[in-house]
Amino acid sequence: MEFKDYYKILEVPREASQDDIRKAYRKLARKYHPDVSKEPDAEARMRDLNEANDVLRDAEKRAAYDGLAAGVAGPNGASPGPGWDRGFEFSGAQGEGPNQAEFQDFMAGLFKQAEQQRRTQGRGQGFDSGQGYAQPLRGEDHHADIEISFEDSFAGATRELGLRSVQLDAKGRPQLVNRTLSVKIPAGVKAGQMIRLAGQGMPGEGGGAPGDLFLAVHFAAHALYQSNGRDLSMKLPVTPWEAALGGKVHAPTLAGEVEVNIAAGSKQGGKLRLRGKGLPGDPPGDLYLVLDIVWPTAENEQTRAAYEQLAKAAAFNPRAHLGVSA
């Protein structure tokens, strides 16, 4: 199993200076930033880079990471414990379709968590009545991403997320703790929106309330639909005669098949709006059907004859505006 090695991710030696780390991060961020990169795995690489940079750029977190990495090494001191290749990310469990949620800043959060517990434990030992001195502090919020489908947003969905955290044991050694969150995702959620899970962030201190967990919603690429807010759009293939003569055709929507009217004389790229057939909400989104005229090939005598007849009947020169003859 591969250890999530932050030094390897940033391509720096373990003894790299803070300046080396900063330079390495900037260089790699330019290469892998998903907004500019052509690399296929840019998004995942950038997430790793950010995570590694968040920890290694900070001397305290870096020292904690070095210690933690050594602490989880196996008996021979060489191989880290099982599961470390997956780091401290959410891992999707159950449910159909893509179900990836990742903690962007979870590792950084872990150190805060360990730090906080150390403080709490220290306080308990330092004072006779720790509670009397403890000032309630709300736990920190956590932020992560979650990928859902349009169908999930349309109908609402329940997702199980595996969540991993580090807690210090009685002797102050870091221990991995697994827990599972069964999350009810509300219907009508849009891409880029965040959903809040109250009380699922870091535990509070001195009787303070726990923080919240925020999940930023992304839609998985869909074979049929694209989204723009709550509006969806879909290419609707139609025949030339349906476009020219008009008629009724069937189209799929998230709520099931519907019959739509194609107006006579419709053009390629023309849009039909099905009001309220997008993602639910107040107001609900619309579904746009973008007409895509598809021509049958002249593969047999009948269709060949039909095309020839059309050529004669239409006397049509699509290049007239280019100033050339047919």
Binding site: N50, H143, K184, P186, G192, M194, I195, Q226
Partner: protein, 102 residues
Amino acid sequence: MTQITICTAVVVDDQAPVTIHELAQCCEQQIEWVMTLVEHGVLPALRQSAPPEGWVFASAAVARARQVARLQRDFEVNLDAAALIADLMQEVRDLRLQLRGF
């Protein structure tokens, strides 16, 4: 043994907008930093009533604030440049999304 917790998520924008304190904390900044972003028009506040402690923010503002904070911290750019970079990145993402439809 794995503990299972069932919880209902609420959409930030509709029911539970992010407070200025929560936003500052998730960017590892002070609330004064958030106020500066709002005053410079870099970040839209959902409800910008006085005093600033009552300001709340929608999802898009959180993503944007985190991006600006990261650009400032990791690339040491000033606020105006960070805002411009964030705008350009958003434009690229929007255009790519449109391209996916063709």
